[in-house]
């Protein structure tokens, strides 16, 4: 085993030359490309993450809006139901009131008719009484005096009733 200095120097030269060429044509471009790709992938991933977050935010927002809309719809239905109920009640109340009024009016009418009828009957009775009395007395009674007498009689008859 002896060291041949020519071989040794050639080994160093060869290594340095190979390193220089490879540095320029292999490692430089390849490492740069690999780094670029890494950065690309990184940015793509972060972009995807961003989009995903945006979608998530949107989803939450839409869900909230949907809930709100649902609640509003329920409120509308509830208020409509309430209004309907109130209207129904007021109509019923009104109908009852008017029925009561009508009944009262009808009763008043009946009362009035009844009184009228009674008055008519009284007048008729008076006339008949006068007629009958006239026949009995044989002389017709006339004038104011006559009427007063009859009225007095009728008053008395009414008082008895």
């Amino acid at each position: 085993m002896h060291i041949d200095y020519h071989d040794l120097i050639w080994a160093i030269i060869n290594f340095v030359v190979l390193l220089a060429i490879l540095y320029k044509f292999l490692y430089g471009p390849l490492l740069k490309m690999m780094e670029n790709r890494q950065n690309d992938i990184k940015s793509n991933i972060s972009q995807a993450e961003e989009i995903r977050n945006e979608a998530e935010t949107l989803r939450v927002q839409l869900t909230a809006e949907l809930d709100k809309a649902r609640k509003e719809a329920q409120e509308i239905i509830a208020s409509a139901t309430k209004i309907g109920e109130e209207t129904k009640n007021s109509i019923i109340t009104e109908a009852k009131n008017s029925a009561v009024k009508m009944t009262e009016k009808a009763q008043e009418e009946i009362q009035r008719e009844k009184e009228q009828a009674l008055a008519d009957i009284r007048n008729e009775v008076a006339s008949l009484a006068i007629l009958a009395a006239g026949k009995v007395l044989g002389k017709a009674m006339t004038g104011e005096e006559h009427k007063k007498l009859v009225d007095k009689y009728i008053q008395e008859v009414g008082g008895i009733q």
Binding site: I9, F15, L19, L22, Y23, F25, L26, L30, D40
Partner: protein, 224 residues
């Protein structure tokens, strides 16, 4: 094994042996693969680019555990070049007629080449240590206690020695065993050793690169 040491020709007074020509061939292979891997770089990789990216990513992940992500990426070119060159050098010894054909001999089966690699590691370690931490780098030789300085210096000097001897010894030894077995029983028996050589070549390339990463990480680490 004799052909590896024989001189084929010389350039600028530097003699070129079969180890050197083999290294050139391996460098050409690495450059060719790199060319195909980066010829048409795409964000979505395929084919050779995919394979090369996989190799680099595995190495980065591995070195991250030793020296942190930033340094793993920073020193990846040195570590990856060592790994590829040593791995292919080790495997070139498994090729038929390696060491017997002029111009073909596993470069890592000679101490001269592995010593060259270890010297590169030695200078890189201290160069980047000083570059990252300035002259404060030399303080760590005085820690934990100053009187250990001679021991620390010996440790630094032993590192390249152990790096080069370990790699050379393993590959050279493996080749010798294979060659001896081949002479004793040419059929099937050497195959077992060659299969083992595939595993050993990978392990030794890995060990060399791993230790380089440990030395670089230690020299440039933030603490002390």
């Amino acid at each position: 094994m004799e052909h590896g040491t024989s001189v084929l020709f010389s350039i600028f007074g530097l003699r070129v042996s079969s180890y050197v020509t083999t290294m050139w061939g391996l460098m050409a292979v690495i450059l060719l693969i790199s060319y195909f891997a980066t010829r048409n770089l795409k964000k979505v990789p395929g084919g050779a680019q995919n394979v090369m990216e996989y190799v680099i990513q595995v190495l980065i992940d591995f070195f991250e555990g030793i020296m942190g992500e930033k340094r793993a990426k920073q020193y990846l070119p040195i570590l990856c070049t060592f790994f590829l060159l040593i791995l292919l050098s080790n495997y070139s010894g498994i090729l038929p007629m390696a060491g017997h054909l002029p111009g073909l001999a596993a470069p890592t089966s000679t101490i001269s080449v592995t010593a060259g690699f270890a010297i590169v590691v030695f200078f890189c370690t201290h160069f980047f240590g000083i570059k990252e931490k300035g002259f404060g780098y030399f303080k760590h030789f005085l820690q934990p206690v100053a009187f250990l300085l001679p021991l620390m210096i010996i440790e630094e000097l032993v590192r390249p020695l152990s790096l080069s001897l370990r790699l050379y010894g393993n590959i050279f030894g493996e080749e010798m065993v294979t060659a001896q077995l081949f002479q004793m029983a040419p059929f099937l028996v050497p195959l077992v050793m060659q299969a083992l050589g595939l595993l050993m070549g990978l392990v030794q390339a890995f060990v060399f690169t791993l230790l380089t990463a440990v030395y670089l990480g230690g020299a440039t680490a933030d603490h002390h």
